[in-house]
Symmetry: C2
Amino acid sequence: MPATSRPTSKDVAQEAGVSQSTVSLVMGGKWTGRVSPATARSVHAAAERLGYRPNPAARNLRLGTTRTVLLMVPTLTAPFFGPVYTGAARVATGHGFGVVVSTWPDDAGTAGGSAEGPFTAPHETIDGILASSLEAAALGEFAGTPAVMLDSGPHGDVPTVDFGVADGMRAIARHLASLGHRRFGHVAAGVDQWTFHARAQALEEVVRDVPGGALLREACEIDVGSAKEAAWRLLARSERPTALVCDDDLIAAGAYKAARARGLAIPDDLSVTGFDDVLLATALEPELTTVRLPAEEMGAQGMTALLELLGGTRPEPRVLPGRLVVRGSTAPPHQG
Amino acid sequence: MPATSRPTSKDVAQEAGVSQSTVSLVMGGKWTGRVSPATARSVHAAAERLGYRPNPAARNLRLGTTRTVLLMVPTLTAPFFGPVYTGAARVATGHGFGVVVSTWPDDAGTAGGSAEGPFTAPHETIDGILASSLEAAALGEFAGTPAVMLDSGPHGDVPTVDFGVADGMRAIARHLASLGHRRFGHVAAGVDQWTFHARAQALEEVVRDVPGGALLREACEIDVGSAKEAAWRLLARSERPTALVCDDDLIAAGAYKAARARGLAIPDDLSVTGFDDVLLATALEPELTTVRLPAEEMGAQGMTALLELLGGTRPEPRVLPGRLVVRGSTAPPHQG
DNA sequence: CTGTTAGCGCGTTCAA
DNA sequence: TTGAACGCGCTAACAG
């Protein structure tokens, strides 16, 4: 018995002078009324002494369950996913589950070279999947694994948790309209995700109902440089917008730069709004009017739904409302 | 044989008309010279047809290996870890390994309630750990699991990958000194991590060698509000610093706000520098002079080192140099 | 109340 | 070149 390898339940049994099954019962916590308190104590003591910890692989093999769920995100670089993870992990640990994070395969370059086989993906080493911000394309990828979709819009018959982005966008647009704005520029994320489609549509609806309302749109990548160019194009139009509605706080940062480059002061000459309310929103000058999305709550609700799903009941779709946060980047337009 | 459960190697064997062991050999890729090419083909075909994929739990139990490594980070909210993950995942998949991310337990609130047992942590369901940005306190946590420490400084006998933060900070300080600055303010991260201790020390060294050099310091949390307050305190000193050296780009954002609140223009009245060169650095106005740290490279090198470690050889400590990126936030001091 | 037994799916001897 | 048998560590029947 080499001291290098960790102790097994058999070792604990021997140490405590009982059988493996007794150890299993005691460690599993379901011994009440089946094992005498005295032996239970001695088993615990032996386990403690040996530093015993059950082998998860064996456990998994036997039980078919791993008490681990996977949070899949498109990319780790977006500041949005930190809170989502925190929320999910909080409720997970409360139920004895662990959470691991991974990105969609192509992010890490599936063109790795070796590893043709299906060994790379952590599939099936987990009980369920929390899939966040899916591209409209991806789907069914995880055949048979219980999944909850986050921030991906209504989706067939799989349970979902979404933000009320349409309401959020409407709140922004109405805020701007009530300030007196009529000519809106939409700096749109050119990403094929439900949330951005929903934002665009909600904005259109509101502007359509504004007397004399006009909406211009330019698409960009979600990065500062690309956003700056898109905003620049918008500001170059003959009928220049007096307000730039950005699909994301980061895009708003690009809009700030475009405004500055054209000599436009925010909010006096141009109002700018963001979306998400990440750290960046208060790092900018002036601070950004945006919509706060309860990201941590989404993680928590998503995990709750997944736990229900694993428990056998189909969770209801959930929608989490955003909240308009008015800061210094919006004001009445310069000249009516 | 319920259609719901996934096919096993036994099913494949039956389908192909061979024995389990043959399937195992073929799927394991080590059949050359032991199984006839014809049967190998038929096994592959059968596996394909059935959609067979080996059960990772059984594999792990038998092999004692899971081909998965864990990247542990203090928090997911820092934009720094995205690239680290990307780099690590890239080389991992190239070697048939998967990467999952998790945070240090207390982040998710170990005060979950239930789950006393040691089941929560994904320990031992992984082959190795990439531990990033450890607090000086944490250590040995992972007993026996091969680990590489990232961005945690020299550390006993465990392999490390670090940034050349001291050189980076020296580059910043010399840049400022050559511009003519003499009175430096250090807006320091009040976090007990090696990297910040190293930064502070390097800055002190350079300032000590500057004729007439003076160094003031205020500590803060790594968030905009706290950084703003610390910077504000520095700017309130009688001998006001002409340059604020910030431990982090986010802290620099706070310094920007403090400067603005005091009516100081950057860079004319005050130079500001950051560290890390994250997205935020170019979102600010003016863009931030900072030190770019090759985060993705750190992930890649760390994974390479871990793979070596798992292969049985002790990797050399690695140091990745940062690079000074001069942008618009630094200039000669107003009045010598 | 406790011990014995069987088997989860796989990789690897050992014989044939 | 292939197949039968064994055991990784664990849990859940079933005996005692």
